[in-house]
Symmetry: none
Subunit: 200 residues, 4 copies
DNA sequence: CATGAATGAGAATTCATTCAT
DNA sequence: TATGAATGAATTCTCATTCAT
């Protein structure tokens, strides 16, 4: 995730971010103190504030970095699919892979988006593209159940999250493509219109 | 006739719990301080600790009370249904009604179960009965999708929560029995085995 | 100054204010830390913040109290004088007496009004009455030199301050009424119009 | 020809001093941080400490430099006057001119001498010459009011400061020689013995 | 039972200063 | 000489908890 550029200089910043990522996902935002982060990172307390003026800055920076990394995942292979359902399913796979390969980052994004630590309006909508490219076109094709796109998004994200947590706790099952496929289809089944002719 | 002193005693304890419930659900566990609770309850700071040795005790007590109240709701009318699906759907209705009538209590239970304020292992499993009475029998009848009962439970609870929040924000829709029925069926659709003959 | 009411309750608050008054006048606002004040007052660090939410609150409270005390001094005997000059001179004596009897309080007021620690606009004009009752009427009678009333006030206050500091460092001279009278007349000489017939 | 390296060296030192002078007079000693000074000077944080081992060193150096500059002003034209009053008045004009032409330097000297940032005993008496050459001889001639020379000095400096601030805020008035003359005479009137025959 | 003053262990943050390069 | 990353002691302030009354 965080670039490991020219040694020394970025090193401490990286260490701080790594420590923060680890502790935040383990204990929560408020439960993690800046001195814990500094200690875990092996730097002095003041060093942390040399790089990040406030605790919130660490959180925002982490969110930005994790989002960028996630983005590089969730676009993958979308062009291979013409159908909405194909794109939808691919996106679920992409998120799952991201979560499997960058578990802390995935958990951090989830924490950030659901936390009450930060005011709602500061949260960037990472999923706007998902709505624009998949849900709204899908609705025009009557592929999804009736209801506001936000609700479809909510249901999708939450079900996906549950399944992701399931796979994180049972990593061996994540190696079985068939099992994964079946699990992820539940999501489509939940939000798609059963009467639609979704001729894949 | 209830003796005055005892009434008084219960009064303050109750006031504290009510204040805590209100503030916790509004601002979160860490964001609510014990002195805020005392002020809201109209009692002295020390009085709060007379009844509850620690802040966590208030939270635990509230969870217990809310759980008991919830329990009295979610058993309602279950005996009217023989089929697993009937019981399952009734249970969803019960939770929804509980949330509509005791919104703060419902939100508190949800907060408690998802919060990182308390270590995971302290959280009591409120839904064990749900698993024993509905999911496990249902699985034996192949009514549910394959997967561990905990996963079915998780999916059910999360979808239900999303819908409940939707209804809390759109209370007038909650008065339309047909709309409610349709919304809650999505949950059954998500977790039930489509190939099962669920002849109610 | 600070009321010593019913023992215990006010005690700590009083101790804190006394300690703050002493340290602020000795070392300045920024140079005095809240823990120094707490230590000097013999109370715990948190106790200080139990009574005063912020450091600035201590300063504001002290200023208010000192101002009230000063007020009770600088009105004394003014009614005995009909002439502007008589009132003017009496006021100088009153301030001097206040400074001699409540040195720290006088120094605190002076610090507060000249400090850059607090934003200008928060400073209450303690001398508005002086301008209204003495300088402006005096100007209408052409008793003072030409110039904005604020400048007359400034010169008066500054000269007075210099003399007060002189007397604080040479207290025995303050016991010589003649010497005091002569010293304070310098101020009148500086700001009064030499051509005016100030027939006392 | 000035060697490049040396020029560079002086350059940075000068930049730091200029930046410090600007910021100190604008915000105060404690309110100005060393990194603000470095930033304003356009040098690295460490560079500042290469030239000045401590923050206080910057302040002391500035005071020395400003004092030297002031000195070059306040001696000007003194030799044209034989009388004490003539010299006294010339000195006031010199200070005023210094303040008008080097406002920040004047304000810095004033700040330095009145600040509680530095312990009293570190403050050097800049005005010893004033006392030796003007006040003490003047007192022997009974030109000044009775009182210790330090008091005469204090009164003079403070009144002068008030007037200087007045002129800094009303620079157009400083261009009117007659107005200036009248304003500065107030000072002489305040400290001089009215019974003395000050036949210039 | 009830009070609320008192506590003190941290919390986030600041900043003059150091030091390796 | 010049840099700027790194430091850590100190600062203001928070808050769950205690305790004498």
């Amino acid at each position: 995730m965080i670039p490991k550029t020219q040694a020394g200089m970025e090193n401490k910043k990286t260490k701080i971010l790594k420590a923060a990522l680890k502790l935040f996902t383990k204990y929560g935002f408020r439960e993690t103190t800046t001195s814990q982060i500094a200690r875990e990172a092996g730097v002095a307390n003041g060093t942390l504030f040399h790089y990040f003026p406030t605790k919130d800055d660490i959180i925002e920076t982490l969110f930005l970095l994790c989002s960028l990394n996630a983005e590089s995942y969730y676009r993958r292979g979308l062009e291979n699919y013409k159908s909405i359902k194909g794109k939808f399913m691919q996106l679920l796979h992409n998120w799952l892979n991201f979560a499997l390969e960058h578990t802390e980052q995935y958990l951090f994004i989830n924490m950030y988006l659901t936390s009450s630590y930060l005011p709602q309006d500061e949260k960037i909508l990472v999923f706007s593209e998902f709505i624009e490219k998949i849900i709204e076109p899908g609705e025009r094709q009557k592929l999804f159940k009736d209801g506001p796109p936000e609700l479809i998004l909510e249901v999708t994200c939450n079900l996906l999250h549950i399944l992701i947590v399931h796979f994180l706790n049972n990593r061996q099952k994540a190696s079985d493509p068939e099992y994964v496929e079946r699990a992820l289809s539940f999501i489509w089944d939940s939000v798609s219109n059963p009467h639609a002719l979704s001729h894949k």
